[in-house]
């Protein structure tokens, strides 16, 4: 894999998601403290930091998956295209159709490969007939670089695929609803290096259509796939900037310590 660090540039400057003074509490535990971040459109943004630093928690705030945790409370303002996603008028179901998510562990539905991808378009009524649905399934599986491997067995269960294929299936499923932002929570932590490379390549291709936010434990991965990197530590956003700058010339001493392996 070639080193992309020097070539990676931020392509656009449009702000897709903006967080201002975001706070997250689990009961009395203050998990995210006063985070301000701008996530740009058509950019891969990496969240890095040691375990328990709150990067996954913050990611799950962006599509309100934290709503399912009863003790979780979010304060501050997070906007998608300048609309507050925590506004009482917002239906999280609609929000999640626009902000897709890929999870740490591949979690395909115990249904056929076809049904896994077709599920999102079906429930959101994105297609009018079977032919359109077939077309979406095919294009999403192609985008997820899975089509050639599964085109002959679309009726086979998604759970029967290998780990890397399952994760790519989950990505195909997530992009089938044509989201604007794709959140990925350590998408490669359960995969071997070859599958990881495939998914990373895919992320880079997806950047042309979506804004991608990826949480990762691997700094190499962050350096390889992202244009911008945010470093979280103990619930604080310590440093946020261009990936090249964060890895070569960090401003905060904590970032430098983490990158060089002294904390974490």
């Amino acid at each position: 894999m070639k080193d992309q660090r020097l070539e990676s540039r931020v392509d656009t400057q449009t702000i897709k998601i903006q967080a201002r003074g975001a706070q997250v509490y689990y009961g009395t535990n203050h998990a995210i403290k006063d985070v301000d971040v701008d996530i740009l459109d058509k950019t891969v943004t990496a969240f890095i930091g040691p375990s328990g630093c709150g990067k996954s928690t913050f990611l799950r705030c962006l599509n309100r998956m934290n709503d399912t945790i009863a003790s979780c409370r979010v304060e501050g303002k997070i906007t998608l295209d300048d609309e507050d996603i925590y506004d009482p008028r917002v239906d999280p179901v609609q929000l999640r159709a626009r902000i897709g998510m890929v999870f740490q562990k591949p979690n395909p539905f115990p249904k056929s490969i076809y049904d896994n991808v077709a599920y999102g378009p079906k429930i959101h009524g994105l297609t009018r007939n079977k032919a359109e649905l077939d077309a979406i399934v095919e294009s999403c599986l192609r985008k997820a670089a899975l089509w050639n491997e599964v085109k002959d067995r679309l009726a086979a269960p998604g759970t029967g695929l290998s780990g890397g294929q399952q994760q790519r299936l989950c990505i195909a499923r997530a992009i089938a609803t044509s989201p604007e932002v794709l959140l990925m929570d350590e998408p490669c932590s359960a995969l071997d290096p070859i599958a990881t490379a495939q998914v990373e390549e895919l992320i880079d291709e997806l950047r042309s259509q979506f804004s991608v936010v990826i949480v990762t434990h691997s700094m190499q991965q962050a350096a390889r796939v992202s244009q911008r990197t945010a470093f979280f530590h103990l619930g604080n956003l310590v440093e946020y900037g261009e990936t090249g700058q964060i890895f070569t010339n960090p401003i905060d001493p904590r970032t430098e310590s983490y990158i060089s392996g002294r904390i974490g």
Partner: protein, 438 residues
């Protein structure tokens, strides 16, 4: 220091191995004891109960004379009803006497009523109903199959011997000798007793005519009521509590109480049913609808608990996946969680139903122990007609005096066991069928 050999066990290892061996021995003993107890139970039930599926019948020609059975000659059932079962009994006795004489059997040793006693008291009524239902039979000679009397039936099943018959005022060795001759002549036959599962219960003195028909129908009606009510209510309650309800003191209280309700003695539900459904609502006693409602109350917690466990067992990653795509919570539950929980839910439901099928105590309190001769109608109105229930019928028969009912009660237990085994087999089949990996 010398190194210990791997081939020699040290003291600690020997002690630990001995403990493990003892533990295995205890376990094996427990299982063997349990199997022996089960075997004993089955041998006793099948030994006592299998004869109930065989029955002694007398088949002989009966001439239905107009001068005796329809003196008016009108063939009007209302008028013909004047001829009572006593009359029909005499007709049967006369016909059997004629048949025996024709076969060359000497009846002179028989006492008064000795021949009449060979035929069950139930048979004249059966013949009378036949004739009243079809008056054109009058004047014809038909081949009629009558139930043999209880003692004669018992003689061929080993319950009555010549020694006991000598002490019994309901039979005599001479009568049994005649029965043997009738058997040789082919008049008396022992064959499969389909009436045991189709006929209604019979009175104390007629064990040979007692059947499970009404009890089976009553139990099926009740199971239908329980299934229709308890499955949807139980699953809906479980889904709400597991997937939608906020976790707070109030839902904790509900949870604890559901667990407690599952442990409440069933007779308490019977009292509840008596107070609410019969006294307050005014539903009829002995009706399957009331039994079904009471059993529904009893079964609900027993369905809710396994259903919630099945819902809990669905991995949260599936819920995340569906919610992450933008499925609503109800869509997440109906499209993904419920199908995955289905094997557990169905197993729980069927086990709950099986428990309800075998429940006796609450049904006693709502009057299902009553003696019912008339079959309940077709549902839904039939649900309000009096009926019996299988376990109550068993209880009822075990309290009766005639030794013939021992066999009937054991036979009924076999029928109940067959139902239970069938239901459990369905539960296993459904679990296998719906089981999926994730």
């Amino acid at each position: 220091m010398t190194r210990a050999s791997l081939f020699a066990q040290d003291k600690r290892t020997r002690a630990r191995n001995a403990t493990e061996k003892r533990f295995r021995a205890y376990g094996l003993t427990a299982i063997v004891l349990a199997l022996l107890a089960l075997l004993w139970l089955l041998i006793s039930i099948f030994g006592n109960g299998l004869p109930a599926f065989k029955q002694t019948f007398l088949t002989f020609p009966v001439t239905l004379e107009e001068s005796v059975l329809d003196k008016s000659g009108t063939r009007d059932p209302a008028v013909m009803a004047k001829a009572t079962t006593i009359t029909y009994g005499k007709v049967l006795t006369k016909a059997l006497e004629a048949e025996a004489t024709a076969k060359g059997i000497d009846l002179s040793a028989l006492k008064k009523k000795g021949l009449a006693n060979l035929i069950s008291e139930e048979s004249p009524a059966t013949l009378r109903n036949m004739v009243l239902a079809d008056p054109s039979l009058i004047g014809q000679t038909i081949r009629f199959t009558a139930l043999a009397g209880g003692r004669v039936d018992g003689y061929y099943k080993g319950r009555v011997t010549l020694e006991t018959a000598a002490l019994d005022k309901n039979t005599s060795p001479e009568q049994l000798a005649v029965a043997d001759k009738l058997k040789e002549a082919g008049v008396l036959t022992i064959s499969l007793n389909s009436g045991f599962v189709t006929m209604p219960d019979a009175s104390d003195k007629r064990p040979e005519a007692a059947g499970l028909g009404i009890a089976i129908i009553g139990s099926l009606y009740m199971m239908a009521v329980v299934l229709v009510l308890a499955l949807p209510i139980g699953v809906a309650a479980s889904v709400y509590l597991e997937e939608f309800a906020p976790k707070n003191r109030f839902t904790d209280l509900i949870e604890v109480n559901i667990a407690n309700l599952a442990a409440v003695p069933s007779i308490v539900y019977g009292i509840l049913g008596l107070a609410i459904f019969i006294n307050m609502v005014g539903l009829p006693t002995s009706a399957p609808i009331v039994g079904g409602l009471v059993l529904t109350l009893m079964t609900l917690p027993r369905i809710i608990i396994p259903t919630r466990a099945a819902l809990k067992a669905v991995p949260p990653s599936i819920r995340d996946a569906a919610l992450g795509i933008g499925a609503s919570r109800l869509q997440t539950v109906t499209h993904h969680v419920l199908p995955l929980a289905m094997p557990g839910i169905l197993t729980g439901t069927i086990i709950g139903l099986a428990q309800a099928l075998g429940e006796t105590a609450p049904l006693l309190l709502i009057g299902m122990v009553a003696f019912v001769r008339d079959f309940p109608g077709a549902p839904p109105s039939g649900l309000f007609d009096p009926a019996a229930a299988l376990p109550v019928q068993i209880y009822n028969w075990t309290t009766r005096g005639d030794p013939g009912f021992v066999e009937r009660a054991s036979g009924a237990i076999i029928v109940l066991l067959i139902f239970l085994i069938a239901m459990n087999a369905v539960a296993i089949y459904l679990r296998r069928k719906f089981e999926r990996r994730w």
